[in-house]
């Protein structure tokens, strides 16, 4: 080889060293990831099949893709809240703050895609989870909204700061969230929470996925202007609108939980993520309280109702973490307080639906959840009229969406128990209380 050829080869190698990646690999692939067993009660590292992959090296699927880290500031979101902004333009502009490609460390051995480090394993496992969950919401639940017809995005280890005035990232660990408006799911790193990381827990991912379904159905259709006014920091919310927002957040969380239960067929789908053996005392207590609030058959949810949470009559030891007492002293109206956890009332919603199907997973998956999905679009239409929201609005729409063959006796009975003030006021005519 002469000097000229040698220098060309060295130059090419240098270029490749800096910029070359592997050829895109897609189609139907086998991935080695952390995945649940059939009962979703335990997880293990094993091989799973995924299809419609566009390029596994950049975690691109026909339906969704992963994005890298980045920093999104609350002020950037506020500045976009003009009258002209659409859900699509808002999402596109805020999403551009994150790296547009993610290239985890992957290797192919024996035609199986392996992650080469733990962070890549997190990303690859979440990728496999989203692929299954997306298919379930489309094929089993029948979602036809932009939540499943438009591409989805997963931000891996991104940061959010509330404001330029306080540019300290809210470094989140041990979590996975859906960021409404930005329209991304965000996956955060493992911190000190033992058990299955949320990003690998498919029940948690199914929960987060439903937040997108809720947002796209309810807020981006008829009620987008109302959503913008709620988000806008320049307009303080009235007490009634704060109450509407709190109840809708509770509904959002409750429906996300009951859908995750439907997907996993396991009401304890979060338990694999709630191991506390190696935790310090404070973290273990926090985790225990979270577990109590989120398990829809816990002592707390056995006794919690819309009314006893609202008038602060439930034993405080049971409602630890709900923010109830604080709201009661500051606002006098718990459900319109600003410091308020939507998960507590959300679990009441989920329990009501669970009892409404007679604790039958098949009925939940095949009848109730598809009906809930159809209800959401109509809920958006109602919110678009600036009408106040309370749970009677939702239950009335749900009862209208259920097929005639469905026996509503259990559901109405549970509504009468858990939402008695709404039931006794005859605000749900389709239930004969």
């Amino acid at each position: 080889m002469n000097l000229k050829r040698l220098s060309i080869a060295i130059f090419a190698f240098g270029l490749c060293f800096l910029g070359c990646g592997p050829e895109p690999l897609g189609g139907e692939l086998t991935l080695k990831v952390v995945a649940p067993n059939d009962d979703f009660a335990s997880y293990e590292l094993r091989q799973v099949q995924v299809s419609n992959v566009e390029n596994i090296y950049q975690l691109q699927h026909a339906n969704f893709k992963f994005l890298g880290g980045g920093l999104l500031e609350g002020d950037d979101m506020q500045n976009l809240l003009t009258s002209e902004v659409t859900p699509q333009s808002f999402a596109t502009q805020t999403r551009s703050h994150f790296d547009q490609t993610l290239e985890p460390h992957l290797a192919i051995r024996d035609e199986v895609v392996h992650a080469q480090d733990f962070h890549s394993l997190m990303a690859l496992s979440a990728f496999a989870g989203f692929e299954k969950i997306w298919g379930w919401y489309v094929n089993d639940i029948g979602d036809r909204s932009t939540a499943t017809t438009e591409p989805g995005y997963v931000v891996f280890y991104g940061d959010i700061v509330p404001s330029n005035l306080l540019p300290v990232p809210m470094i989140q660990m041990d979590n996975a969230v859906y960021l409404a408006g930005v329209d991304v799911w965000m996956v955060f790193p493992v911190g000190n929470q033992e058990g299955v990381p949320y990003a690998m827990n498919q029940g948690v991912l199914a929960h987060e996925f439903h937040h997108r379904i809720f947002f796209q159905n309810v807020w981006t259709t008829s009620a987008f202007d109302r959503w913008k006014s709620i988000l806008s920091a320049t307009e303080s919310l009235s007490a009634s609108e704060q109450r509407n927002l709190n109840l809708l957040r509770a509904l959002d969380e409750g429906l996300a939980d009951i859908n995750a239960i439907g997907y996993t067929k396991n009401i304890g789908f979060m338990e694999p993520s709630f191991h506390s053996e190696h935790l310090d005392v404070v973290s273990a207590e926090l985790l225990g309280a979270e577990s109590l609030r989120r398990n829809i058959e816990s002592d707390f949810v056995d006794r919690a109702t819309y009314d006893n949470l609202g008038d602060d009559s439930l034993e405080h030891a049971l409602v630890d973490g709900c923010g109830v007492a604080q709201n009661f002293t500051t606002s006098g109206d718990i459900l319109s307080g600003q410091a308020w956890s939507p998960y507590c009332l959300g679990s009441v919603v989920a329990r009501t639906i669970w009892e409404g199907v007679g604790r039958d997973h098949q009925l939940l998956r095949e009848v109730m959840l598809p009906a809930i999905n159809q209800t959401l679009f109509h809920l958006g239409e109602v919110l678009g009229t600036d009408q106040d929201f309370d749970f009677d609005v939702f239950f009335q729409l749900l009862l209208e969406s259920l097929p005639n063959t469905f026996d509503t006796a259990d559901l109405c009975s549970e509504i009468a128990t858990r939402f008695s003030s709404l039931a006794t006021a005859d605000r749900i005519p389709l239930c004969a209380f």
């Binding site: 890298g68 980045g70 920093l71 733990f118 394993l121 891996f156 991104g158 493992v190 058990g195 190696h278």
Partner: protein
């Protein structure tokens, strides 16, 4: 910048011949030190800073300008090793442990001076590192081991101050490698002989 300004002011108090003259005390240096290195991660942010040990041997390389004329040189050749072991991420249930061993090869160039008590010098370092990283992932009872190459080239400033045969050094390296951008801060204690 403030530190560099101080160095310049300090150096300007010496005669120029002291800066580029014969190498200071001894021909060889042995450095042992510790630092933290951070490589770009595939998710771009929050890359963990890894504590890392290093051992370097440096020697002055005389410049031969003509067969009978050998000039003392401020250029030093560097060979060494750097390593870390058992660097963990995650929890006891899910996570990973990483260990790495890298060979180092490079040069350092810069002025030095010797006063009545101290020696002082600054340098520009060009250092390549190449080696292997062992990653042991664990997911509950499952374990998976991965071995992969590491290679990078770093450039950066350093400075040192010495007393007799001993010296203390700090270096900062910025570079690029197989895993993307890389930076490293190193502290070392050296022996001159």
């Amino acid at each position: 910048m403030r530190f560099l300004s101080l160095i310049v002011v300090f150096l300007s108090g010496f005669h120029a011949s002291q800066l580029w003259g014969a190498p200071p005390k001894g021909q060889h240096h042995l450095w042992a030190g510790w630092g933290v290195s951070q490589s770009e991660s595939f998710w771009a942010a929050r890359s963990p800073a890894v504590p890392k040990w290093h051992l370097n041997w440096e020697t002055y390389t005389p410049w031969t300008l003509a067969p009978e004329e050998v000039w003392a040189s401020p250029l030093r050749a560097i060979v060494g090793l750097s390593a870390y072991s058992g660097w963990g991420n995650g929890t006891q249930d899910f996570g990973q442990q990483q260990s790495a061993m890298n060979g180092e090869l490079g040069v350092a160039l810069g002025p030095s001076m010797e006063g009545s008590l101290f020696r002082l010098g600054c340098e520009i370092v060009v250092l390549s590192q190449m080696g292997m990283t062992l990653t042991e992932m664990h997911a509950l009872d499952h374990k998976q081991t991965e071995l992969h190459w590491t290679a990078l080239l770093g450039v950066g400033p350093g400075w040192y101050v010495g007393w007799g045969d001993l010296a203390l050094r700090q270096q900062t390296l910025l570079g690029y490698g197989i895993n993307g951008y890389h930076h490293e801060v190193r502290l070392a204690l050296g022996y001159t002989f």
